[in-house]
């Protein structure tokens, strides 16, 4: 207590009002750095994955491991079917209930089917599936790869002259993209089914519902939904693999936990961000009529 510890020499004196601003600035700068580093790392990972996938597809000597691709597709996608069906069905059931009173006021009750179909195919099918898969598959991939770093498995692969990207990232990334698209098709159908269930209860004729849905859905709406789904799948796989592989061995189980949490958060942010961008692009090209 007698002598105070020597103060670290600061070139800029930060006092009073400035200090919260300064720390805010520092935090922003640190965050920007992190985001740039992550984007750069993910870009490198993506290009290496693309290179390895192309090699696996087109060079006879380098084989694409079909077996592990199927394993990953089951793990990422097939196991997610029940939860996707459950949630999308619930959304399908909810939507007509929300819209029906207002539409009925205008005597347009059967438009429930139209809105339901457009929302399902263009937006809610891909988006909700991506959010589910980010939590379901993204978190599990990040935790798995993080644990593999921890157990020296990644380093072991490297010293066995096996590229972890080809061996681990390629099957996982392909699996998330493929299964995202397939799950979105299921999601689309299930939302319509949910909507139909409620609509029939609300007194809309089943045939009219079917006809209105058929009129509302066109190939562009369906395709744009699937394009979005593929992009979301790519983002989820990439974020999850990147977060998992960048766990450092000395971070311990805390590092794995952080990678898992970050994956889910980043996945949701990235998916919604990409959704905005793609929807704006599709709209401005006049794809939505």
């Amino acid at each position: 207590m007698k002598q105070s510890a020597p103060q670290p020499d600061r070139s800029v004196k930060v006092t009073g009002l400035v200090s919260p601003l300064a720390s805010l600035g520092a935090a922003t700068l640190a965050m920007a750095k992190r985001i740039f580093a992550m984007a750069g790392g993910m870009y490198l990972l993506l290009s290496e994955t693309a290179e390895n996938t192309a090699k696996g597809l087109f060079t006879p000597t380098v084989r694409l491991d079909r077996e592990s691709l199927i394993t990953q597709m089951v793990r990422v996608g097939v196991r997610a079917i029940p939860i996707v069906v459950l949630i999308e069905l619930a959304i399908g059931v909810i939507m007509p209930l929300q819209m029906f009173p207002k539409l009925d006021e205008f005597g347009q009750a059967e438009q429930v089917a139209t809105i339901n179909a457009i929302a399902a195919f263009r937006e809610l099918g891909p988006l909700m599936t991506a959010i589910i898969l980010g939590g379901f598959a993204g978190a599990s991939i990040a935790a798995e790869l993080g644990a593999m770093v921890m157990a020296e498995e990644i380093e072991a692969l490297r010293t066995l002259a096996l590229n972890p990207v080809r061996f681990l990232v390629v099957p996982r990334l392909l699996a998330t993209v493929i299964m995202m698209v397939l799950l979105t098709v299921i999601a689309d159908v299930v939302i319509i089914a949910g909507g139909w269930m409620t609509s029939v209860h609300l007194g809309i004729d089943s045939d009219i519902f079917y006809q209105m849905t058929k009129d509302a859905v066109d190939i562009t709406g369906f395709a744009t939904g699937l394009i979005k789904a593929a992009v979301f799948g790519l983002l989820i796989g990439l974020i999850a693999c990147f977060q998992g592989l960048t766990v450092k061995p000395w971070q311990g189980s805390e590092g794995v936990g952080r990678a898992t949490t970050n994956t889910v958060v980043y996945c949701i942010v990235a998916v919604i961000g990409a959704d905005v961008v793609f929807t704006v692009i599709f709209y401005s090209y006049g794809l939505f009529t």
């Binding site: 157990a151 498995e153 380093e155």
Partner: protein, 287 residues
């Protein structure tokens, strides 16, 4: 540092040649200029306390880390500046046993051993199966080929990791703390395996350890690493002599330090290091 052994081993070619290897992480220097030769067919044991840089040194040898400066030549090729695909060709010529075995958890023991064979050779599935059985028999695990790594004990994992390391018939084998976390009997069995494999397969072995009984069991030559530099390189006999010499007869602080480490004594130059600053002052000074 090499003067002790050059006469004896000059005739044999150096399989690994390390010169002036330095590495720092952040501001901390971990390796401060390492010079070391490992010769064909010998078991070289690298010893040192925790945090002395021995694991970092091993990771340089297998190409996992690139040094700040210096060179590592393996089979006469400089590996520190190699591109990844060239390095992979060198990697096929050596094997490494990791501390935990580092088996791929999603693959069975047999599949783990088959992995390098499947990926790096043109052998058909039947031949690979036979090879896997041979390798597993060498480490005494033939009956456990279908088990998953999670079902194995620590010692079995290490043996399975060893079977995978020798799958491609490497010329050099690296061992990272082979006895760590094992009971004495299993540890001794692993030591026996290291000696057997080195002699039977005529490979060169580099073992990193801090377990002295095991080190003296297996070593042909040894070197002592401390604070990122090699204090002494020599034959096992030289180290045994140093260990058994009375403390009064040693003149240099360095020899005393090595002796303490070899004997595992609590008192000595290494113990003094743990004292940091003035204890009383530190206790009384509060924030």
């Amino acid at each position: 540092m090499l003067t002790n052994t050059t006469e004896k081993t000059q005739t044999k070619p150096a399989v690994i040649q390390i010169r002036g290897l330095t590495k720092s992480f952040a501001d901390q220097q971990v390796l401060g200029g390492i010079d070391l030769d490992v010769f064909q067919g010998e078991i070289m044991v690298i010893m040192g306390g925790s945090g002395c840089g021995k694991s970092t040194l091993l990771r340089h040898l297998v190409g996992s880390i690139r040094p700040d400066d210096g060179s590592v030549k393996m089979f006469g090729q400089e590996i520190t500046t190699m591109a990844e695909h060239q390095l992979n060709e060198v990697r096929k010529r050596f094997g490494i046993l990791f501390q935990s075995g580092a088996l791929i958890n999603s693959l069975s023991v047999g599949e783990n051993v088959a992995l390098p064979l499947r990926e790096h050779t043109a052998l058909d599935a039947n031949t690979i199966e036979i090879m896997v059985k041979i390798k597993l028999e060498l480490v005494g695990l033939r009956a456990h080929a279908d088990k998953m790594p999670a079902q194995l004990s620590g010692g079995m994992k290490k043996r399975a990791g060893l079977a995978r390391a020798i799958a491609l018939d490497p010329q050099i084998l690296f061992y990272d703390e082979p006895g760590a976390g094992l009971d004495p009997v299993t540890g001794a069995q692993i030591d026996r395996l290291i000696i057997d494999l080195t002699r039977k397969l005529n490979v060169t072995s580099v073992v990193v350890t801090h377990q002295m009984d095991s080190a003296f069991n297996i070593a042909d030559r040894m070197c002592m690493l401390d604070k990122g530099v090699i204090l002494k390189t020599g034959t096992r006999q030289e180290f045994e002599t140093l260990r058994d010499t009375a403390l009064e007869e040693l003149s240099t602080e360095q020899d005393k330090l090595i002796r303490q480490f070899l004997r595992g004594d609590a008192e000595g130059p290494l113990a003094k290091r743990k004292v940091h600053g003035d204890y009383e002052k530190d206790l009384l000074q509060t924030k």
